[in-house]
Amino acid sequence: MAEAVAPIPVLSVRNVAKSFGAAIALRKGCLDSYGGSIHALVGENGAGKSTLVKVIAGVHHRDGGEFLLSGRPVDFRNTAEAKAAGVAVIYQEPTLFPDLSVTENIFMGRQPVLGLGRIDRRRMRSEAADLLERLGVRLNPDRVARGLSIADQQVIEIAKAISLDAKVLVMDEPTAALSGVEVDRLFTITRALRDEGRAIIFISHRFEEIYSLCDTLTVMRDGEYVSAHAIGDVTVDEVVRRMVGRSVTDLFPKEAAPVGDVRLRVEGLTSSGKFHDINFVVRSGEIVCLAGLVGSGRTEIVRAVFGVDGYDRGTVTVDGHTLPMKNPAAAIAAGIALVPEDRRKQGLVMDFSVRSNMSLAVRDRLSVLGILPALKETRLAMSWAHRLQVKTSSLDSPVATLSGGNQQKVVLGKWLATEPRVLIIDEPTRGIDVGTKSEVHRLMSELAGHGVAILMISSELPEVIGMADRVLVMKEGHMTAELSRADANPETVMYAATHSVEKSA
């Protein structure tokens, strides 16, 4: 390290908690970050890293715990206060004003002014040029932000942070969308900022990066602080074990079901830039899980299978019947149901009633002589709401008024009403409380027992390990491993999801 570490951490959070309604996102977040040091924050998706970052950035207000900045307690009510106190966050995908210049973006909201409130353009431009020069990047301060690469956009965000003289810089998965060269440049900049004495918090899923860049690291799991280490004191395997370590085998029991014929077959599916040469089958009675990090192409694959997006090559067949591209209606007719990732935007029409949502995917099938009979619709909704134990005051309540878990049940009911042969579920239990979570898992197990072929995407390793008969692991658009139930454990899945090419086909 270039400088001696200051005795007091620049940023220190202790036992910070945050919940959203019934869902606890963060139980006990602890983090110390020192000036002149790069600190890594690691954990599975849903471990509470992002929530912790948002508390630090002033996006969320903590429910409890301590938050000290250079030893003094602080209490940010919004992001402006956090920025003023010297905390800046660089997100994975920066949000710049696309039609404004690089200079204007850097100084947005606090432009230097002359008399009469006129913007001092000359000073603004020369300061911007200085900043970019200090960061060692060749970027024309006068060009508009539109069309800049994500890497360059991040540089602008960093320039903005430096111009504010940020003491703490949080980088939330900054490398996820960058190429190798861009990562190198970002690391050079980050090291330079460290050497200026700033405290940097770096979030990444890639251990190579963490080990080459960071000085210390904190592991989080289930919204809680697990441990903190100097980077030299701990191995990758040790960190992975701490990230996922808990007994999961009996948490999500998938009962054994007779495995039958191939229901869904995907062959050579390729969509350039999203996923490449994907091959797999799902048989009746089987739960197959697509695992991998967020952004590894899992969701893109099921969108293509269901026909929401097109693809370049490959075929999708259901019970031997090849599906046309880009036609969800045909996919539904062939017996596929998709419970999508974002139930509020994709799964439900939020202003529709419980009943209208339940019948939306089967409205053609319910019709008699072209008319959708209200009685049949009500009967269908009544039956599925009851079977899934949806809690609602009436069937014509808008689903927007239901809780997250009950909304998810309505989505499930909507798709189960289609009597699917292939059920695809993307993040079945995201944002759902623990009780409903296990209900959803048992329901999936029950469906598999009735011969439904289930393809599940999940970012939660315990869920993957507990539910899946087979695990297909994705990394950056490629399928890197196919693991049987016996071979799948947190370490093997995490390894295939984070380490590069090694096909076990």
Partner: protein, 345 residues
């Protein structure tokens, strides 16, 4: 928790209340009911207080005047509920009028000319629909463009001339009334069409798709609604009805000219919005739009007979429109606050 079953037995049909509110509550506490009450009140007031309003001839002219608006209001309701807008209807109206005139003048049998004019309307609607769905352009911009385009075609086809020679049988039947009553014959096909489009919107899977598309394109796609086809159909329907309105207007006045129907689109949209259809899509009804169009027509007719100057009539109908939107926006706002307070307390 593991002992209680996750799912109940299938086949239960009486586990939930179907409706949160009673039948009368649902029928009466809604926008359409308010418009209907206002319409009846204005009607009765005008009948009692404005000389000449009660005469049969007033009713005949009122209905003849409102007929083309009603025709255009019906599909416009679907267009707006689907989250789009069609500003080109009045230009399609004019184009159909000119096509009819030019063909009749050229000696084409009038039935064929009417059919062609209708077809032109469908094509015009499909052009709008194509630009909106296939090219993904915003309908507001597209139909501002085609508003000018179709009007330009109409004027270009006929120049400043007018065609006034139509078969007298057709022109007189366009204004004839049912038997000895004051109700024009045209009311019958319009009522049939209104019922048909009402059924299409409110009772068919297609209509449900229109609402879903208007509330959330994305959720509709994920539910297997053919979003593009749905929008294409509503735009085609809008073009067809606008053309039929133009044909009726042309025959009624025996006059085909490029400027027929200029500016009507705003009255059509005003009627739809007054009838409770949300300009953001996803909410509204055919009945509301019909009532909205009738209310504007009755009000205008009554004010005219009361010798209120024309610009004052515009001010009054405009103010009522703004008020009705404010009220529509305010009702859910207050309802929400009320329920939130109840939940909190």
């Amino acid at each position: 928790m593991l002992d209680t079953p996750v799912t109940n037995e299938p086949g239960v049909t009486r586990a939930y209340t179907v409706h949160a509110r009673g039948l009368w509550h649902r029928l009466l506490v809604r926008h359409e009911a308010v418009v209907l009450v206002v319409l009846v009140v204005v009607w009765m007031y005008a009948n009692a207080g404005i000389a000449g309003f009660g005469r049969p001839i007033t009713l005949t002219f009122l209905l003849l005047d409102v007929a083309p608006i009603l025709l255009m209001v019906l599909p416009m309701t679907l267009v707006i509920i689907s989250g789009e807008i069609d500003l080109s209807v009045a230009s399609v109206f004019g184009l159909a009028s000119v096509v009819l005139g030019v063909m009749v003048k050229a000696g084409v049998p009038i039935a064929l000319a009417v059919l062609t004019a209708g077809l032109v309307g469908v094509v015009a609607g499909l052009v709008n629909g194509f630009l909106v769905t296939v090219l993904g352009l915003p309908s507001l911009a597209v139909t501002i463009g085609t508003l000018a385009l179709f009007r330009g075609l109409a004027v270009g086809l006929l120049g400043t001339k007018a065609v006034t020679e139509f078969p007298p049988g057709w022109t007189s039947s366009a204004q004839s009334t049912i038997g000895d009553s004051a109700v024009p014959v045209i009311v019958v096909p319009i009522a049939v069409l209104a019922i048909a489009i009402g059924v299409l919107l409110h009772l068919t899977p297609f209509g449900r798709g229109v609402y879903a598309v208007g509330l959330s394109d994305e959720a509709a796609i994920f539910s297997g609604v053919l979003v593009k086809r749905t929008k294409l159909v509503v735009f085609a329907l809008s073009g067809l009805c606008a053309a039929l309105a133009g044909v009726f207007y042309t025959l009624r006045f025996g006059n085909a000219i490029g400027s027929n129907g200029v500016g009507l689109e705003l009255g059509v949209i005003a009627a739809v919005v007054l009838g409770g259809t949300s300009i953001f899509g996803g909410r509204g009804s055919v009945a509301g739009s019909v009532l909205g169009a009738l209310l504007i027509a009755v009000l205008a007719s009554a004010l005219r007979l009361a010798k209120v100057p024309a610009n004052a009539i515009d001010i009054i109908t405009g103010a009522i429109l703004v008020l009705s939107i404010a009220v529509t926006m305010a009702i859910p706002f207050f309802a929400q606050r009320f329920t939130r307070e109840r939940r909190a307390g």
